[in-house]
Point group: C2
Chain length 290, copies 2
């Protein structure tokens, strides 16, 4: 295991609370008053999650969008955010982007902390949401016989990132990803399991299968692309797209646009089958924390 | 203004939500599910808030304690925490200290994010609490005619810090500060205003006076000390003590030990009087974010 995997395992051992699903890639969901409170925290570090020369307004946007996407997977509406901000090269640009993103999602800034730093800039955002439907969707709810769906194409962030690195093109999908809050709320009453594909379709589908104790059979050619067909292999393994991946009956009339890309079966030997076969051992399926 | 002050001013301009009191030195308080949800986020950075050689278990403890102290000022009970953790030199020690602190306060780890980093280690903690009394105490509630009280002595963290720097002594008050959650809950129904003195008694008393629109007259010799009398001047200006500073009637029978250290008057020319005089212009009263 990597150092981070060891750490995460230790933290998971500490996180024994029933609401404690919110480590790295999921939200915490807990009863508060008569409602379900949804909480998520994401950190971004210069040189790891963003490039030193990147526009701080884009970084702020992305920090908000990744957290809002976490809320979207729970069918939650945003209540507000807390910001942990280390002073950077252009704080005014960061705040401009933060303001834009918060206005876009209707999420007020409730508080946080500002600090000076000496090394790479580190940023944290806590998003607080209110579930609009109970039970609150989770990645563990996939039901045998359901179909696997995705709300839209993947590969846009990959193409955008490559364009940005090459200094060409707008790279909007990478710079300004959009969290699907309305879609998540519309889908929440209908889904078995739901998550986003921020770490890659294949990796996230595998996580859903593992959490749900099922096997997911994914039809790789059915996954809609926002990039050339020749990049299909990479696009299925790239993160930073914020489409919603969910299970629901195959014949359902969905309230949002979505594409069927697989089926849920009883758990077999492998949690994930891609075009009928388990992915090769040791092949990276996406962005792994561990 | 410093860069950080400019930043904070910009963030405050963005934080127009009525619950948005939670920037840097206060909690956000909002209605949720028929109850009052209390939220706070603190960040700590290596080289700024802790020393590179410090025991990671102590750093974890302090990160938890500062956030729990914020909850204490609201009379809130902890619901849980979200951790933003950048890999450090000894993650196992950090987790050991985190586990100790969370067990001490009965605050479960609900989730968070772990990241790798390249420079100084940055840590963030979001604490979620439930107010035990309404209205929820704030720093703006001081009432003319009330007395100013403090729950215990200041100066312990200063002495501890100096001992640690000198390599002598246990430095426990600096390494393992204790948040007064039970005291905050017991006081909440009785106080006008309440806050902690984490940035220094004089500075925090001045903030309370400004927020409440009153003048606070503080009797510097009445403030109990956990250090030699010769250090009184410094101890009143040192942060990192987590005593609760609050206003309540002068003749009240308090449920916790506390010392009267001043009075609340109608706002005069100066928000803070120390022994009858305004502190000299330009003199640092404590740890200032701005």
């Amino acid at each position: 295991m990597t150092r981070e995997a060891v750490l995460i395992a230790s933290l998971r051992a500490l996180a024994t609370h029933p609401a404690a699903r919110g480590l790295n890639d999921d939200c915490a969901v807990l009863e508060f008053g008569g409602e379900a409170l949804v909480l998520t925290h994401d950190m971004m570090v210069e040189g790891v999650h963003f490039l030193p020369g990147q526009d701080p307004a884009d970084i702020a946007w992305k920090l908000v969008a990744t957290n809002m996407s976490d809320l979207a997977t729970k069918g939650a509406e945003p209540v507000g955010v807390l910001l942990g901000y280390m002073l950077g090269v252009d704080d005014a640009r960061f705040i401009a982007g933060l303001g834009e993103a918060l206005a876009h999602y209707g999420a007020p800034l409730l508080g946080g902390d500002t600090v000076s730093g000496t090394g790479s800039q580190a940023l944290g955002l806590t998003a607080i949401g209110r579930a609009t439907h109970r039970p609150v969707p989770s990645r563990s709810g996939a039901i045998i016989g359901e179909a696997l769906w995705i709300t839209g194409p993947v590969g846009a962030a990959m193409i955008g990132y490559e364009a940005m690195r090459a200094g060409s093109g707008e790279a909007l999908a990478y710079r300004r990803p959009v969290a699907l809050l309305a879609e998540g709320q519309a889908l929440a009453p209908l889904v078995g399991a739901m998550m986003d594909v921020s770490d890659g379709v294949l990796l996230d589908a595998r996580r859903m299968a593992l959490a749900s104790g099922v096997t997911i059979a994914l039809d790789s050619l059915a996954v809609p692309l926002a990039c050339p067909e020749s990049r299909r292999h990479d696009a299925l393994r790239w993160g930073d797209d914020y489409q919603l991946l969910f299970t629901a009956p195959a014949d359902i009339d969905l309230p949002v646009r979505a594409t069927r890309i697989g089926m849920v079966f009883a758990r077999g030997e492998h949690p994930l089958l891609v075009d009928g076969l388990p992915p090769p051992e040791g092949e990276a399926l996406g962005f792994e924390h561990n």
